[in-house]
């Protein structure tokens, strides 16, 4: 019976991991940029939700939109103003650039918000949900449901809207997309901004579960790495599967080996997977 509970915990965690990673995966897949800023974007989203709740009483679930829009704007400016200049350069250059930007943004957050851990304590929590032998905290389940909803919305956006089709076109072939009249620079910026939106929204959801501090950005970034490699690059379903798988693995890993080994386990898994199947569980071979 305990296994059912662990699996349920893992799924709830996994839904959030999927939401954390899907923006990172999109940016990597379309722009071919490893966005080190992603973890800091998530934390910034958490801060928006925190201050929204502390000062204006806005429930973090509604802050998703605010946090998302704030980060959308920030992401658009960063990509259009800075990263677009070197977006076709080798990985060493783009990765180093986003690392530099991350140092600046993270340091700015440390100065502005200090390194103190903060937490959103809801005045009216949803209580716990009981399904047979499994107990789940209601707020977490709601956060997971919203996370999955956001992920599905992103999937539909990429499938059905004209901007989404343009993003997919740029991902498939940058030159051909240019020839078909797609404004690639604009699409780059929109893609990066959508990635930042997802990070901000995920951050707002996470604010009710994890403590908030600029120091957490690396943890979230590490999760995004693992989920992306697990699920395969640049595909929304890949990130979804990767997130759920990682959630379950971490959940069972902490039960069997102790929670202090959960990170080692997931990183070890990442290395093994890169060794045997670099294209991910759902990835296609030969696609970069």
């Amino acid at each position: 019976m305990i296994y059912l509970q662990i699996a349920a915990n893992g799924l709830v965690l996994g839904g959030l991991y999927a939401c954390i990673s899907v923006g990172f995966s999109l940016v990597w897949g379309v722009l071919n940029v490893i966005n080190i800023l992603h973890g800091t974007f998530i934390v910034l989203g958490s801060y928006v939700a925190y201050f929204g709740y502390a000062h204006a009483g806005i429930h973090p679930f509604f802050s998703i939109v605010i946090a998302g829009l704030v980060l959308y704007a920030l992401g658009y400016v960063l990509q259009a103003g800075i990263i677009n200049r070197v977006v076709t350069a080798p990985v060493l250059i783009t990765l180093t650039l986003t690392f530099g930007l991350d140092l600046v943004l993270n340091n700015a957050m440390l100065v502005a918000f200090t390194a103190d851990y903060r937490a959103v304590t809801l005045a009216n929590p949803l209580g716990s949900i009981e399904i047979g032998p499994v107990f789940l905290p209601g707020d977490r389940v709601a956060a997971m449901a919203l996370a999955l909803l956001l992920t599905v919305l992103l999937y539909r956006l990429l499938r059905d809207s004209s901007i989404g089709r343009a993003i997919v076109a740029v991902r498939m072939d940058r030159e051909a997309a240019t020839l078909m009249g797609v404004d690639v620079k604009h699409i780059n910026a929109v893609t990066f901004a959508i990635g930042a939106f997802m990070a901000g929204a995920a951050g707002a959801l996470l604010s009710i579960i994890f403590p908030i501090s600029p120091l957490n950005s690396q943890v979230f970034l590490g999760k995004a790495f693992v989920v992306c490699v697990l699920g395969g690059l640049g595909s929304v379903p890949g990130a979804m599967v990767g997130g759920l798988v990682l959630g379950i693995i971490e959940s069972f890993g902490s039960y069997w080996f102790g929670p202090e080994h959960a990170v080692t386990l997931s990183f070890g898994l990442l290395l093994v997977l890169l060794f045997v199947r670099p294209s991910g569980l759902l990835g296609r071979r030969g696609y970069e």
Binding site: R85, A89, I93, T96, L97, F99, L101, L103, V104, E260
Partner: protein, 308 residues
Amino acid sequence: MRTWFALFVVALALASLPLTGNNYLLRLATTVCMYAVMAQSWNFIGGLAGYPSFATAAFFGFGAYTSAILQNHGAPPMLAWGCAGLAALVFAAFLGGAILHLRGHYFAIASLIVAEMLREIVNTMPGTGGGKGMNLPILKISIAAQAQFFFYSMLALALFCTAAAIVIHRSKLGFGLRCIQQNEDAASILGVNTYAYKTAAFSLSAVFVGMAGAIYASWVNYIEPPDVFDVLLAVKPLVMVLLGGLGTIFGPALGAVILLTFEELVWRNFLTIHAAALGLIIVVLVLFLPNGILSLIRERFPRRERPR
């Protein structure tokens, strides 16, 4: 010949530094030598072979902990440093075998993850002090003598590393690595054993860094996981190399001097924003000076063609 002469002059100038009797300068010079070792080492895999390795922090911490554990079991410092270098070499050879078949982003992420994983392992492993960190035996000589001892040790390592770089740049290995950087598939078809070459470059990028980590551990007497597996230790070397110039011999050392000067100025004056300052220098560097400072000098003073 000119290169060796330049190295000799720099070595002589640095070796006479303790004569000034300024211990602050001596500490800075020791750090410059350490940075130079790390930048020069990264240049083997990142500059010559063109593989964006972020494993430097892993090798540094691996060397530091290997040496610390050995010294706490009674090994003399020099022997422990040598063993740390050797251990880092073996570790890199195995690791390289596992991840060097990856390219681009996947390689970058895999190498970045290694230090994180080692940090978590050290945090929970018995015999390393875990998160509390580890003390090292203190040398029974005066403080001033210690400062000189560690300076000369680090200087010797930096010179040895640079000498190795000079030899390798001119050897078949260096040529093969440059071929891999330009077009790995073509190099492979032309008969370069790319796997062996890349593994050699990766191991070279580990051995000196491992020893630098070991000397650093003895120098500061205390190490802890977040300190020696710091991700900045993986990023600074490539910043220094980008500053000085990719794939050059003296570029990394020059980059080390520039970065440390800059760091020291920022540390002194704006302690709370030093990370942002480093970030800013990275952004400016990448956007406006991707070929390093040596390239500016070369543009202004082009080298005369040698008469044939």
